[in-house]
Amino acid sequence: MAREGPIAVVTARGRASRLLVLVLQVAFFVVTIGAWEIAARIGWLDSFFFSRPSAIGARIVEWVETGYIWPHLFTTLVEAMAAFAIGIASGVAAGLVLARVELLAAVFDPYIRVFNALPRVILAPILIIWFGLGMTSKIALGVTLVFFVVFFNTFQGVREVNPAIVNNARMLQASNRQLMRYVYLPSAMAWIFSSLHTSIGFALVGAVVGEYIGSAKGIGYVVSQAQGVFDTTGVFAGLILTSIVVLGIDLTIERLERYLLRWRPQA
């Protein structure tokens, strides 16, 4: 087919530059981490406050080898994933309904704005009072963060639907439910996915911050324990583990996104 020509050219060119980017990325990593390590070793940076990359790496390896980190990581992940799932489900549902029912959107608009303006982290203490020191309070905190991101994106996505597509589906005699399933939801999907990249981070923030404030398990707990004995290496190790986990989940979302949004023209 005619369209294979230009695409092949683009990939060939894309591959060459991708290699360059990768090399530069690795170089950046080596230089920054190397500089940190050397600065800490020769005394420019105080290892007590800034730790050393090698020590942090060793700590992570130690945690993994002794198995100390697994129950904590597991707890945090369960909390984050539960908050993520509940937040997405409620955010998408609320977004679809409010985008379709003008009256509800008008009534709830000021309340949603006020609640969204609230810094959610200050809810953590009250959520712990309500739901206790267990997982529930962390999940609840994560949900308050995830919900709004997903909600606003879904709402916008539904509002942006091409009216000609809606009218066409109506002329083909789609029921309201079919319109939702065949038109509004898929149209909002691109918006929903872009919100998921942000909200997976938020789900984890909810879990870790909740644990940090009050719990007996989880990465947040590990970090707060380390901080309590001025163990900066432990704090950094916890931080890095958390980012690796988020990165892993984000990559999975991206895979799913690429599959579900394969109908879109390549930009």
Binding site: N167, M171, Q173, A174, S175, P186
Partner: protein, 278 residues
């Protein structure tokens, strides 16, 4: 059946003193069309021309049931229209296919929405794709097709439900001239002997005459019906060849005299006179 007798003397679409107004963003009321009376007889191909922005699409949307006129009645086969016109399929000016569904899934939509089992719907869709010469493109997404191919998918999507009425809003307006003539011929071929009623909107008088049994000229806003011309050209027609007939030219001149005034009014008296035929 009793309804048959009733339908026999009732038009496919009838507008009875239909007036449509919109509220402008500034809060004013704008009358888009006033007191429209129009009968579209069953099985005829009626082309509606008028200057752009005169409210042709609004009229079509009223016939589709996508908007309800505040005054007057639109009836379909003798029954006052309430909600979506269930006898009609609509071909839109812009792309209205679901971009997230494959060609095959787009064509099956009308059947799927009506509860036809998927296997059966797919089989019918394959048949229609063959008729519009798109076999082999079933698994493509709309963005992977050319503009003309997307229009053919839209035609298959509209015809698969076997509607008695086809509403078309400048469906080929965005296509290049050659593709457009091909599409017009394909449309005529499908329509010939189908007994379907077509209400076809265009701002192109040549297209209107080449396709229609009747050409209706609308005035610019508020829209009124200004002229109604029977087109006594032989069928089957080839849209490219029919333009060369002297009879075509004569009809064109007569209608253009009528339409020109409206176009000029709309263009602010600019030199908007396209020379036809030469």
């Amino acid at each position: 059946m009793g309804t048959d007798a009733m339908e026999a003397n009732s038009a496919a679409i009838a507008f009875d003193r239909v007036t449509i107004r919109f509220a402008t963003p500034a809060g004013l009321v704008q009358t888009v069309m006033s007191n429209i009376d129009l009968r579209v007889e069953d099985g005829t191909f009626v082309a509606l021309v008028g200057p752009s922005g005169c409210g042709k699409s609004t009229l079509l949307n009223a016939a589709a049931g996508l908007l309800a006129p505040p005054e007057g009645v639109v009836s379909v086969f003798g029954e006052a229209l309430k909600g979506i016109n269930r006898h009609a399929a609509y071909l839109f000016q812009e792309d209205a296919l679901l971009p997230w569904r494959t060609v095959l899934d787009n064509v099956t939509l009308g059947l799927v929405f009506r509860g036809v089992p998927r296997v059966q719907a797919s089989e019918a869709a394959r048949g229609w794709l063959a008729r519009v010469r798109l076999t082999g493109f079933e698994d493509r997404f709309p963005h992977q097709l050319s503009g003309g191919m997307r229009k053919r998918v839209a035609i298959a999507q509209a015809w698969i439900v076997d509607p008695r009425i086809l509403l078309m809003d400048e469906p080929f307006g965005a296509l290049d001239v050659q593709t457009r003539q091909i599409m017009e011929n394909e449309l005529l071929e499908l329509w010939q002997g189908s007994n379907k009623t077509v209400l076809f909107i265009t701002h192109d008088l040549e297209e209107a005459i080449a396709l229609g049994d009747r050409v209706i000229v609308m005035s610019s806003g508020p829209a009124r019906i200004k002229g109604d011309y029977p087109i006594a050209l032989p069928r089957p027609r080839d849209v490219a060849e029919i333009r060369l007939l002297p009879a075509f030219n004569a009809i064109y001149k007569r209608i253009w005299a009528d339409l020109r005034e409206e176009v000029m009014k709309n263009a602010g008296g600019a030199d908007g006179i396209p020379a036809h035929g030469a």
